[in-house]
Symmetry: C2
Subunit: 147 residues, 2 copies
DNA sequence: ATTGATATTGACATTCATTATCATTTAGAA
DNA sequence: TTCTAAATGATAATGAATGTCAATATCAAT
Protein backbone atom coordinates (compact mmCIF):
# COMPACT_ATOMS: atom_id res chain seq x y z
CA UNK A 1 0.00 0.00 0.00
CA UNK A 2 2.21 2.80 -1.18
CA UNK A 3 -1.05 4.61 -1.32
CA UNK A 4 -1.44 4.69 2.43
CA UNK A 5 2.05 6.13 2.77
CA UNK A 6 1.14 8.88 0.37
CA UNK A 7 -2.04 9.65 2.26
CA UNK A 8 -0.13 9.86 5.52
CA UNK A 9 2.64 12.04 4.15
CA UNK A 10 0.12 14.24 2.44
CA UNK A 11 -1.79 14.65 5.67
CA UNK A 12 1.35 15.68 7.51
CA UNK A 13 2.37 18.17 4.88
CA UNK A 14 -1.10 19.64 4.68
CA UNK A 15 -1.16 20.39 8.38
CA UNK A 16 2.39 21.62 8.62
CA UNK A 17 3.49 18.56 10.56
CA UNK A 18 6.86 16.97 10.29
CA UNK A 19 7.74 13.60 8.91
CA UNK A 20 9.83 12.06 11.62
CA UNK A 21 11.64 8.77 11.99
CA UNK A 22 9.21 7.76 14.75
CA UNK A 23 6.11 8.53 12.75
CA UNK A 24 7.40 6.49 9.87
CA UNK A 25 8.22 3.56 12.13
CA UNK A 26 4.81 3.65 13.75
CA UNK A 27 3.11 4.01 10.42
CA UNK A 28 4.94 0.99 9.05
CA UNK A 29 4.32 -1.17 12.06
CA UNK A 30 0.66 -0.29 11.98
CA UNK A 31 0.26 -1.02 8.30
CA UNK A 32 1.99 -4.36 8.65
CA UNK A 33 0.01 -5.23 11.76
CA UNK A 34 -2.76 -7.74 12.09
CA UNK A 35 -6.33 -6.63 12.08
CA UNK A 36 -7.04 -5.33 15.55
CA UNK A 37 -4.59 -4.05 18.09
CA UNK A 38 -4.32 -1.65 20.98
CA UNK A 39 -1.88 1.22 21.34
CA UNK A 40 -0.05 -0.80 23.94
CA UNK A 41 0.29 -3.79 21.62
CA UNK A 42 1.59 -1.67 18.80
CA UNK A 43 4.02 -0.08 21.23
CA UNK A 44 5.38 -3.44 22.35
CA UNK A 45 5.71 -4.55 18.78
CA UNK A 46 7.66 -1.42 17.90
CA UNK A 47 10.03 -1.65 20.83
CA UNK A 48 11.61 -4.78 19.44
CA UNK A 49 13.15 -2.91 16.52
CA UNK A 50 12.98 0.66 17.78
CA UNK A 51 13.84 0.63 21.46
CA UNK A 52 13.81 4.37 21.76
CA UNK A 53 10.19 4.96 20.90
CA UNK A 54 7.76 6.35 23.42
CA UNK A 55 4.25 5.22 24.20
CA UNK A 56 3.03 8.81 24.01
CA UNK A 57 4.22 9.04 20.45
CA UNK A 58 2.40 5.87 19.57
CA UNK A 59 -0.82 7.34 20.91
CA UNK A 60 -0.21 10.61 19.14
CA UNK A 61 0.55 8.96 15.84
CA UNK A 62 -2.44 6.65 16.04
CA UNK A 63 -4.55 9.74 16.44
CA UNK A 64 -3.01 11.16 13.31
CA UNK A 65 -3.72 7.95 11.46
CA UNK A 66 -7.32 8.18 12.53
CA UNK A 67 -7.47 11.81 11.43
CA UNK A 68 -6.45 10.97 7.90
CA UNK A 69 -8.73 7.96 7.68
CA UNK A 70 -6.08 5.26 7.71
CA UNK A 71 -7.04 3.96 11.14
CA UNK A 72 -10.22 3.58 13.06
CA UNK A 73 -10.67 3.51 16.82
CA UNK A 74 -13.06 0.88 18.14
CA UNK A 75 -14.49 0.01 21.51
CA UNK A 76 -14.63 -3.75 21.13
CA UNK A 77 -13.48 -4.39 24.64
CA UNK A 78 -14.82 -2.52 27.64
CA UNK A 79 -11.60 -1.09 28.91
CA UNK A 80 -9.39 -0.47 25.95
CA UNK A 81 -9.56 1.16 22.57
CA UNK A 82 -8.49 -1.02 19.67
CA UNK A 83 -7.34 0.29 16.37
CA UNK A 84 -7.75 -1.20 12.95
CA UNK A 85 -6.70 -0.31 9.48
CA UNK A 86 -9.45 1.43 7.63
CA UNK A 87 -10.08 2.36 4.08
CA UNK A 88 -13.20 3.67 2.50
CA UNK A 89 -13.17 0.58 0.29
CA UNK A 90 -13.52 -2.03 2.99
CA UNK A 91 -15.67 -0.55 5.65
CA UNK A 92 -17.18 -3.07 8.02
CA UNK A 93 -18.69 -3.53 11.44
CA UNK A 94 -18.07 -6.08 14.16
CA UNK A 95 -19.60 -8.80 16.19
CA UNK A 96 -17.98 -9.86 19.42
CA UNK A 97 -18.39 -13.14 21.24
CA UNK A 98 -19.08 -12.50 24.89
CA UNK A 99 -17.58 -15.85 25.85
CA UNK A 100 -14.27 -16.05 24.02
CA UNK A 101 -13.86 -12.51 22.74
CA UNK A 102 -13.66 -13.62 19.15
CA UNK A 103 -14.21 -10.83 16.69
CA UNK A 104 -15.97 -11.30 13.42
CA UNK A 105 -16.30 -8.63 10.78
CA UNK A 106 -19.31 -8.09 8.64
CA UNK A 107 -20.63 -5.72 6.08
CA UNK A 108 -24.17 -5.06 5.06
CA UNK A 109 -24.93 -2.53 2.39
CA UNK A 110 -28.54 -2.55 3.51
CA UNK A 111 -27.63 -1.57 7.05
CA UNK A 112 -25.35 1.18 5.81
CA UNK A 113 -28.10 2.60 3.67
CA UNK A 114 -30.64 2.42 6.44
CA UNK A 115 -28.35 4.26 8.82
CA UNK A 116 -27.95 6.99 6.29
CA UNK A 117 -31.68 7.22 5.88
CA UNK A 118 -32.51 7.14 9.57
CA UNK A 119 -29.96 9.85 10.36
CA UNK A 120 -31.35 12.18 7.74
CA UNK A 121 -34.85 11.64 9.01
CA UNK A 122 -33.63 13.20 12.26
CA UNK A 123 -31.94 16.09 10.50
CA UNK A 124 -28.61 14.56 11.30
CA UNK A 125 -25.67 14.59 8.94
CA UNK A 126 -24.05 11.21 9.47
CA UNK A 127 -20.29 11.09 9.15
CA UNK A 128 -19.37 7.83 10.75
CA UNK A 129 -20.85 5.06 12.79
CA UNK A 130 -20.08 2.14 15.03
CA UNK A 131 -22.08 -1.00 15.15
CA UNK A 132 -21.30 -3.90 17.41
CA UNK A 133 -23.28 -7.06 17.84
CA UNK A 134 -22.66 -8.92 21.07
CA UNK A 135 -23.51 -12.59 21.31
CA UNK A 136 -22.14 -16.08 21.05
CA UNK A 137 -19.94 -17.31 18.24
CA UNK A 138 -20.64 -20.64 16.61
CA UNK A 139 -18.19 -22.59 18.78
CA UNK A 140 -19.25 -21.11 22.08
CA UNK A 141 -22.90 -21.56 21.21
CA UNK A 142 -22.27 -25.25 20.53
CA UNK A 143 -20.30 -25.70 23.70
CA UNK A 144 -23.13 -24.19 25.69
CA UNK A 145 -25.74 -26.32 23.97
CA UNK A 146 -23.86 -29.56 24.71
CA UNK A 147 -23.62 -28.93 28.41
CA UNK B 1 -43.23 2.00 37.14
CA UNK B 2 -44.05 -0.33 39.97
CA UNK B 3 -43.16 -2.93 37.45
CA UNK B 4 -39.49 -2.02 37.43
CA UNK B 5 -39.41 -2.26 41.20
CA UNK B 6 -40.85 -5.73 41.02
CA UNK B 7 -38.32 -6.79 38.42
CA UNK B 8 -35.49 -5.48 40.56
CA UNK B 9 -36.72 -7.11 43.75
CA UNK B 10 -37.37 -10.34 41.91
CA UNK B 11 -33.87 -10.30 40.53
CA UNK B 12 -32.40 -9.81 43.97
CA UNK B 13 -34.44 -12.59 45.48
CA UNK B 14 -33.69 -14.96 42.66
CA UNK B 15 -29.98 -14.58 43.16
CA UNK B 16 -30.06 -14.64 46.93
CA UNK B 17 -29.19 -10.97 47.16
CA UNK B 18 -30.45 -8.64 49.80
CA UNK B 19 -32.74 -5.70 49.47
CA UNK B 20 -30.90 -2.90 51.18
CA UNK B 21 -31.64 0.71 51.84
CA UNK B 22 -28.85 1.75 49.51
CA UNK B 23 -30.01 -0.40 46.66
CA UNK B 24 -33.49 1.00 46.97
CA UNK B 25 -32.20 4.56 47.03
CA UNK B 26 -30.04 3.98 43.97
CA UNK B 27 -32.85 2.20 42.18
CA UNK B 28 -35.23 5.07 42.84
CA UNK B 29 -32.78 7.76 41.83
CA UNK B 30 -32.02 5.90 38.65
CA UNK B 31 -35.65 5.36 37.74
CA UNK B 32 -36.44 9.02 38.34
CA UNK B 33 -33.38 10.16 36.46
CA UNK B 34 -33.24 11.77 33.07
CA UNK B 35 -32.36 9.72 30.08
CA UNK B 36 -28.60 9.39 30.12
CA UNK B 37 -26.27 9.64 33.05
CA UNK B 38 -22.96 8.38 34.32
CA UNK B 39 -22.31 6.55 37.57
CA UNK B 40 -20.66 9.68 38.87
CA UNK B 41 -23.67 11.82 38.04
CA UNK B 42 -26.04 9.42 39.71
CA UNK B 43 -23.73 9.37 42.69
CA UNK B 44 -23.74 13.14 43.01
CA UNK B 45 -27.49 13.21 42.66
CA UNK B 46 -27.86 10.64 45.42
CA UNK B 47 -25.54 12.36 47.83
CA UNK B 48 -27.93 15.26 48.20
CA UNK B 49 -30.50 13.14 49.99
CA UNK B 50 -28.35 10.20 51.08
CA UNK B 51 -25.01 11.57 52.19
CA UNK B 52 -23.78 8.22 53.37
CA UNK B 53 -23.84 6.42 50.09
CA UNK B 54 -20.66 5.18 48.44
CA UNK B 55 -19.59 5.44 44.84
CA UNK B 56 -18.66 1.77 44.79
CA UNK B 57 -22.19 0.86 45.71
CA UNK B 58 -23.53 2.99 42.90
CA UNK B 59 -21.33 1.15 40.42
CA UNK B 60 -22.29 -2.20 41.90
CA UNK B 61 -25.98 -1.45 41.83
CA UNK B 62 -25.86 -0.13 38.28
CA UNK B 63 -24.34 -3.44 37.30
CA UNK B 64 -27.24 -5.21 38.97
CA UNK B 65 -29.69 -3.02 37.10
CA UNK B 66 -27.98 -3.94 33.86
CA UNK B 67 -28.09 -7.61 34.78
CA UNK B 68 -31.83 -7.59 35.19
CA UNK B 69 -32.42 -5.56 32.04
CA UNK B 70 -33.52 -2.32 33.68
CA UNK B 71 -30.44 -0.42 32.67
CA UNK B 72 -28.13 -0.39 29.71
CA UNK B 73 -24.50 0.67 29.60
CA UNK B 74 -23.51 2.80 26.63
CA UNK B 75 -20.29 4.23 25.28
CA UNK B 76 -21.61 7.50 23.95
CA UNK B 77 -18.67 9.48 25.13
CA UNK B 78 -15.09 8.34 24.67
CA UNK B 79 -14.08 8.28 28.29
CA UNK B 80 -17.08 7.38 30.33
CA UNK B 81 -19.83 4.84 30.40
CA UNK B 82 -23.32 6.26 30.47
CA UNK B 83 -26.34 4.39 31.68
CA UNK B 84 -29.88 4.62 30.52
CA UNK B 85 -33.15 3.07 31.47
CA UNK B 86 -33.97 0.16 29.27
CA UNK B 87 -36.98 -1.96 28.67
CA UNK B 88 -37.58 -4.51 26.01
CA UNK B 89 -40.48 -2.39 24.84
CA UNK B 90 -38.56 0.71 23.91
CA UNK B 91 -35.25 -0.43 22.60
CA UNK B 92 -33.40 2.17 20.60
CA UNK B 93 -30.01 3.23 19.32
CA UNK B 94 -28.23 6.56 19.36
CA UNK B 95 -26.77 9.26 17.24
CA UNK B 96 -24.30 11.66 18.74
CA UNK B 97 -23.39 15.11 17.49
CA UNK B 98 -19.65 15.47 17.38
CA UNK B 99 -19.91 19.23 17.85
CA UNK B 100 -22.27 19.73 20.75
CA UNK B 101 -22.59 16.21 22.12
CA UNK B 102 -26.31 16.18 21.63
CA UNK B 103 -27.80 12.72 21.75
CA UNK B 104 -30.72 11.66 19.65
CA UNK B 105 -32.43 8.32 19.92
CA UNK B 106 -33.78 6.36 17.06
CA UNK B 107 -35.32 3.04 16.31
CA UNK B 108 -35.46 1.14 13.08
CA UNK B 109 -37.17 -2.19 12.91
CA UNK B 110 -35.48 -2.81 9.59
CA UNK B 111 -32.01 -2.35 11.07
CA UNK B 112 -32.85 -4.62 14.00
CA UNK B 113 -33.99 -7.34 11.64
CA UNK B 114 -30.97 -6.99 9.43
CA UNK B 115 -28.63 -7.29 12.37
CA UNK B 116 -30.35 -10.47 13.40
CA UNK B 117 -30.01 -11.84 9.91
CA UNK B 118 -26.39 -10.82 9.42
CA UNK B 119 -25.36 -12.35 12.75
CA UNK B 120 -26.98 -15.66 11.94
CA UNK B 121 -25.29 -15.73 8.58
CA UNK B 122 -22.01 -15.81 10.50
CA UNK B 123 -23.21 -18.55 12.84
CA UNK B 124 -23.47 -15.99 15.58
CA UNK B 125 -26.23 -15.96 18.17
CA UNK B 126 -26.91 -12.27 18.68
CA UNK B 127 -27.92 -11.25 22.16
CA UNK B 128 -27.46 -7.52 22.17
CA UNK B 129 -26.02 -4.77 20.08
CA UNK B 130 -24.83 -1.21 20.12
CA UNK B 131 -25.22 1.15 17.24
CA UNK B 132 -23.99 4.70 17.27
CA UNK B 133 -24.10 7.18 14.45
CA UNK B 134 -21.65 10.05 14.76
CA UNK B 135 -22.27 13.23 12.83
CA UNK B 136 -23.69 16.72 13.02
CA UNK B 137 -27.07 17.56 14.46
CA UNK B 138 -29.37 19.90 12.62
CA UNK B 139 -28.28 23.01 14.54
CA UNK B 140 -24.57 22.40 14.29
CA UNK B 141 -24.87 21.56 10.62
CA UNK B 142 -26.63 24.89 10.00
CA UNK B 143 -24.09 26.80 12.04
CA UNK B 144 -21.30 25.28 10.02
CA UNK B 145 -23.03 26.00 6.72
CA UNK B 146 -23.55 29.67 7.59
CA UNK B 147 -19.95 30.31 8.39
C1' DA C 1 -37.17 -10.85 69.13
C1' DT C 2 -32.58 -13.13 68.86
C1' DT C 3 -29.22 -15.36 66.56
C1' DG C 4 -25.94 -16.36 63.14
C1' DA C 5 -24.37 -17.12 58.54
C1' DT C 6 -23.63 -14.49 54.80
C1' DA C 7 -24.14 -10.61 51.87
C1' DT C 8 -23.29 -5.61 51.78
C1' DT C 9 -21.36 -1.35 52.54
C1' DG C 10 -18.18 2.64 52.09
C1' DA C 11 -13.79 4.63 52.83
C1' DC C 12 -9.73 4.02 50.84
C1' DA C 13 -6.27 2.18 47.98
C1' DT C 14 -5.25 0.43 43.55
C1' DT C 15 -5.27 -0.40 38.78
C1' DC C 16 -4.70 0.80 34.27
C1' DA C 17 -5.51 3.22 29.92
C1' DT C 18 -4.80 7.57 28.31
C1' DT C 19 -3.21 12.39 28.44
C1' DA C 20 -0.47 16.41 30.05
C1' DT C 21 4.04 18.38 31.11
C1' DC C 22 8.30 19.97 29.82
C1' DA C 23 13.16 20.08 28.92
C1' DT C 24 15.62 18.43 25.06
C1' DT C 25 15.99 17.19 20.30
C1' DT C 26 14.83 17.41 15.46
C1' DA C 27 12.79 18.65 10.95
C1' DG C 28 12.79 21.55 7.33
C1' DA C 29 12.33 26.19 5.35
C1' DA C 30 15.06 30.22 4.64
C1' DT D 1 24.14 26.60 8.65
C1' DT D 2 20.71 28.79 11.21
C1' DC D 3 16.51 29.39 13.25
C1' DT D 4 11.89 28.47 14.75
C1' DA D 5 8.24 25.72 15.58
C1' DA D 6 7.07 21.09 16.02
C1' DA D 7 8.15 16.54 18.03
C1' DT D 8 9.85 13.43 21.27
C1' DG D 9 9.98 10.49 25.42
C1' DA D 10 10.53 10.03 30.30
C1' DT D 11 7.71 10.92 33.82
C1' DA D 12 3.91 12.56 36.30
C1' DA D 13 -0.88 13.23 36.33
C1' DT D 14 -5.57 12.18 35.45
C1' DG D 15 -9.71 9.84 36.05
C1' DA D 16 -12.92 6.11 35.53
C1' DA D 17 -13.59 1.84 37.39
C1' DT D 18 -12.53 -1.98 40.51
C1' DG D 19 -10.48 -4.41 44.58
C1' DT D 20 -9.88 -4.65 49.68
C1' DC D 21 -11.53 -5.31 54.08
C1' DA D 22 -13.24 -4.37 58.64
C1' DA D 23 -17.62 -3.00 60.17
C1' DT D 24 -22.52 -3.43 59.41
C1' DA D 25 -27.03 -4.97 57.78
C1' DT D 26 -30.23 -8.44 56.03
C1' DC D 27 -33.08 -12.27 56.61
C1' DA D 28 -34.12 -17.13 57.35
C1' DA D 29 -34.33 -20.11 61.07
C1' DT D 30 -35.00 -20.57 65.63
Amino acid sequence: MENAARIFEGHLKLRGLKSTRQRQAIFNAFIESSVHLSAEELYRKLRKKNPGIGLSTVYRTLKLLCDCGLARALQLDDNMVTFEKESKRDHHDHMVCRECGRIEEFYSKAIEDLQERVAKKHGFIPEDHRMKIIGLCKECARRKAEK
